[in-house]
Symmetry: C2
Subunit: 319 residues, 2 copies
């Protein structure tokens, strides 16, 4: 299969959905501009694509879960905006462009992240797309009718499965997932290298949301335990590989490829796989994860080929 075409097609679906969702200006204007600046800055949409691909591997139609998949990109984008803040990683460049707070200021950057995170759960709950111009002024009957009876998008997925997928994503994003990992990453800066801490950071900061992105496929498809467990192993393996490869690129890549200064992790004395084990061992670990990910998919038919190709792509990418 042609993985490039597959990724482009799925990225197109996600972008069309997100563009339509954020088509009407939301007030205040500065907040809306800040949100769309970061959301449409050329992200690869890896997490939404993983959700669509794992849903397809469970015989679902990708179009049925676009809101749930797209919501993952809102969460990812919020995490980048907050991670780049001066009090966190203090980064000036992201994807070759000035970071959000450099353009819009810290207050609006923090609020944009807050808004994206909140909107993700609204999007996942998928009850309706509110008209962007609706405000609290629409009270009483009109407000009620507008809110309850004007769905723009109706899902074929049951409420029970929507709730389960939302719960999954919230768990993976919070203190017991991504936020916990980012906090530990900040706390571990300039401290002595330590294997347990590094594992905690990797598994929580990046792998948790990636694994959840994969898991919502079988959850929304209401697949059985076997498929869910297999895809969980796949998701955790590529999630770990993804973070290791990110760390390797920070050491090996060029600024042009990365869109951010090379070696910025080392300058901050970040705890990474290459810094703790060296480049060769880190590269070997990423390849072991790839093997484990492919092994987890062994019972799946060709419907899981995109997942297989994505695993290769994530480990072998150059940026």
């Amino acid at each position: 299969m042609d993985i490039k075409s597959y990724l482009e097609e799925k990225r197109g679906f996600i972008n069309v959905y997100l563009k339509a969702y954020f088509a009407s200006t939301m007030l205040p204007d500065a907040l809306y501009k800040s949100i769309t600046y970061s959301l449409f800055a050329g992200g690869k949409r890896i997490r939404p694509i993983l959700a669509l691909a794992s849903y397809e591997a469970c015989d679902g139609h990708a179009q049925d879960i676009l809101p749930q998949a797209a919501a993952l990109e809102l969460i990812h984008t919020y995490s980048l905006i907050h991670d780049d803040l001066p009090s966190m990683d203090d980064d000036d460049l992201r994807r070759g462009q000035p970071t959000n707070h450099k353009v819009f200021g810290e207050a609006i950057a923090i609020l944009s992240g807050d808004a994206l995170l909140t909107e993700a759960f609204f999007m996942m709950s998928n009850m309706q797309s509110h008209d962007a111009r609706s405000t609290m002024h629409d009270t009483g009957e009109e407000y009620h009718n507008h809110r309850e009876h004007s769905p723009k998008y109706s899902s074929p997925i049951t409420c029970r499965l929507l709730l389960r997928a939302l719960s999954e994503v919230a768990f993976a994003s919070g203190i017991r997932g991504m936020v916990g990992g980012q906090a530990q990453d900040i706390l571990a800066e300039n401290s002595e290298p330590d294997k347990e801490t590094l594992d905690f950071i990797h598994l929580h900061k990046t792998a948790a949301l990636i694994a959840a992105s994969v898991r919502i496929g079988p959850i929304l498809a209401d697949s059985g335990t076997g498929r869910l467990n297999a895809l969980t192993r796949y998701g955790e393996s590529i999630g770990l590989a993804f973070q290791i490869v990110d760390d390797l690129l920070d050491v090996e890549g060029t600024t042009r490829e990365l869109g951010k200064p090379v070696g910025s992790d080392r300058k901050k004395r970040k705890l990474t796989y290459p810094s703790l084990y060296g480049i060769d061992v880190a590269r070997k670990k990423a390849e072991d994860c790839l093997t484990e990910a492919l092994h987890a998919l062994k019972e799946f038919s060709s419907s899981a080929d995109p997942l297989r190709e994505i695993a290769h792509y994530l480990v072998l990418r150059r940026h």
Copy 2:
């Protein structure tokens, strides 16, 4: 009825639920300490109590919706932590104690807010309470079994209603609600007073989440349109009154009563009701909101007496 006992009893329910939820330390420790520092700093639990009271006004049993009600306090607490940050309102005191970032630093304060917001949606989705010690290390079968089959709390509310309530709260908290209001508040500092901007800020920053807290009562009770509309009018009226009274207290109160320096709004040239219309007109407006709120409840029996008393309490409070 004795409103003080009522508020104390309901506050007790919420505090017991929250204490149990956060009983096991979550890692990393600094993040957990920061979260519980702010969450258990003596908040009045107004939003959860409003949800419980409006659910009871619709003939529900308060205990059935504790997770949904308690989640509102997580969202409120996150908003306070982020609003107090140096790049936002730059406040050093909150409820008489140093603000979160003063104690734990900006990075952990931002992440604590992010974690509380995320956890709120996990709590509302109510699929299960994960064991705090579970991590991504529990892979495969064990992880799966743990996550899917160990609910500590099972809800009598259908998934459809849980999803609808969650959607309601997410909408009221995001760009078209609380975050939008806070952004406009920040953007309007030091600008010329303007009635439309003030209305936007009041309706979004505070009233939206308070109205949503009231609305999830009839939503979770699956009440009809009539009750939902009436409680919506009640919620929006007391939400607006609540913000106006807050602004009045900032002008009239003492530091001891408020737990923060008096006149801090004026020092920042915040746009408020008293600053735009004067104290007397603002006080009159709050009382009009109280009248409107009570009028909205006219079809309700004595089951809505707590809501009536809470409206009085919010408008007449001294801190």
